[in-house]
Amino acid sequence: MEQKIQDHAILADKFNKDIPRVDWHDKTLWFIREKRDKAAWQIAEWEELREAASQVKNNVLDNLHDYLLEFEKQAQQNGVTVHWAANAEEHNRIVHAIIKEHGVTDIVKSKSMLTEECHLNEYLQQQGITVVDTDLGERIVQLAGEPPSHIVLPCIHWKKEEIGELFHQHLGTPKGNADPQFLTAAAREHLRQRFMTSRVAITGVNFAVAETGEVVVCTNEGNADLGVQLAEVHIACMGIEKIIPQRKHLGIFLRLLARSATGQPVTTYSSHFRKPRPGQTMHIVLVDNGRSERLQQESFRNALKCIRCGACMNTCPVYRRSGGHSYHYAIAGPIGSILAPGLDMKKHADLPFASTLCGSCSNVCPVKINIHEQLYEWRQVLVKSGHVSPVKKAGISGMAAVLSRPGIYKVSGAVGRWFMKYIPALVNNKLNPWYKQREMPAVPKQSFNEWYRQNRKQNGKQS
């Protein structure tokens, strides 16, 4: 687990060795961004809805203590067992204990980014439990032994021919058949058997309503419902920030979630689990894992408003051209880049720099998280905490010295056109990374400053 992770720039460079694939990846995700735009434009009050969602989430973050207590009380009255986990390890232990108590070794799990964050699958596998991810995309990456590359579209980086080959190897489908209809049918049959035999089902949680103690799970495939309704035990795992105050607020969020995610008007299923089915036991695991600490950080707390729609990934020009795995964290893209350093600054120090700060992410965010501003803030925090290369530090310090002294600036500009001298030198690389695929700008005879002194000061116009 503790191997050295390559940073985003290196992984992105590798991804860009196959340009047709980058183009395909970019176009596929842009298509989803366009669908999102079309869906948003159907709603005249779209921007007001985003504002309302943002306000509800702000209110939640300011009152989380009280809402969690209310939620717990309601859930318990509904006959649900509520667990609290301070961190990922505790979450994993709690889930394992429940599974063990029921003497089960094979379970099904629908999509849950929290369990990805906690590395639940690896943990359970080490304890001898077989976990089958039932979301089709998640199942595909699971069979391939990979993490998802996108929170909503886990195998968006896979081509159908590759999936055909994967299914041929693992599910025995005929070699060379890459028809999505056929492959989906094969997966349906394969996973039906799992649904029919699994006695424990794990789900994530999209929204947890404090007022009623119910949890809402949204899927298109119906895999969360099928898993839960055929199991004896339902374990719902959620980060503590998933709380919303009242049921009626679901109206706001369900209008935004799927439209932002895929451009659908709503997910096929938006299921409200309030009480276990007769004979079933239901558990909810509330997980902190750094969230309470994050709440105290003014600049970064509102990243906890995230409803995991993935819109920021689809719109991100960097994500589209570097692939989800280049972010080496369960949640990729812009939102992942502001969440990951909060968990481990050292490990994820590269991510806030994997952005041009173009701001498109903040504009599509349905809960109005100021993602690009937080990326900027993280850069400041990371540098101050020493997570920066010595080459870059020296380069920037030199630059700062020149720019605060106009006299030196003029001389250094005249000699070396300081910009092109300093910027490429920030990267520890023998080759000039600007020049590798771009021409250098031509150097003019004189700078503007020189031109001005020659042409305007003589005319009596002085500053």
Partner: protein, 194 residues
């Protein structure tokens, strides 16, 4: 219990003396236009079928035409033909159900979803495990938006409820839309006007 206390302790630190207020959900008025037309348009766009009928007999006739006599059809709508279910039956036995017919509380025009609760499902597994699903929705019960939907649901204490919008679907393989991922391969909504 130790973690519970620890988490609550960490959260009890007030971040601000002026917590953000909750917005007024009623600020979003229903959109213009006929909600039934809109419901039909949207639902068809997301893979659902709609059939306008004016009597339960028409529904029976439609189903009889679409399904062979050997098909296992369960109907939870007493006016629509189909077998009933016995209480406390193992949900796994529904694996070979071809069609389930249910009556949701209402439909939502803006997204083609229908709200159905566990008391109308017979068994909670039925809407998901069945190969196909049919819903009977009266046209006068179709609402404009999700805000209206939650107003209608109010504080009702349903153990389980779900919005269903079309057949089970996935686009996980290269964004190609495939109907029938795990649940029903088709959804037919009978829009019943009286």
């Amino acid at each position: 219990m130790e973690s519970r206390a620890k988490i609550l302790q960490a959260l009890s630190k007030k971040f601000t003396d002026h917590p953000a207020p909750l917005p007024d959900v009623k600020a979003f008025p229903p959109t213009a236009g006929d909600p039934v037309d809109k419901f039909e348009f949207i639902l068809r766009g997301i893979g659902g079928r709609t059939v306008r009928v004016s009597s339960y007999t028409e529904i029976d006739e439609y189903i009889a035409k679409e399904y062979t006599s050997g098909a296992r059809i369960i109907s939870l709508v007493k006016e629509v033909a189909g077998s009933a279910i016995t209480p406390d039956i193992d949900p796994h036995t529904f694996e070979n159900v071809d069609l389930v017919v249910l009556q949701p509380h209402f439909g939502v025009a803006e997204n083609g979803a229908a709200w159905i609760t566990s008391d109308r499902m017979g068994d909670r597994a039925l809407p998901f495990i069945s190969q196909h699903i049919a819903l009977v929705i009266t046209t006068d019960s179709i609402l404009h938006t999700m805000h209206e939907a939650y107003e209608q649901i109010g504080n009702a204490d349903h153990p389980f409820g779900t919005f269903i919008a079309g057949p089970s679907k996935t686009a996980d393989i290269e964004q190609s839309l495939v109907l029938g991922a795990h649940g029903p391969k088709s959804m037919t909504v009978f829009l019943l006007s009286r």
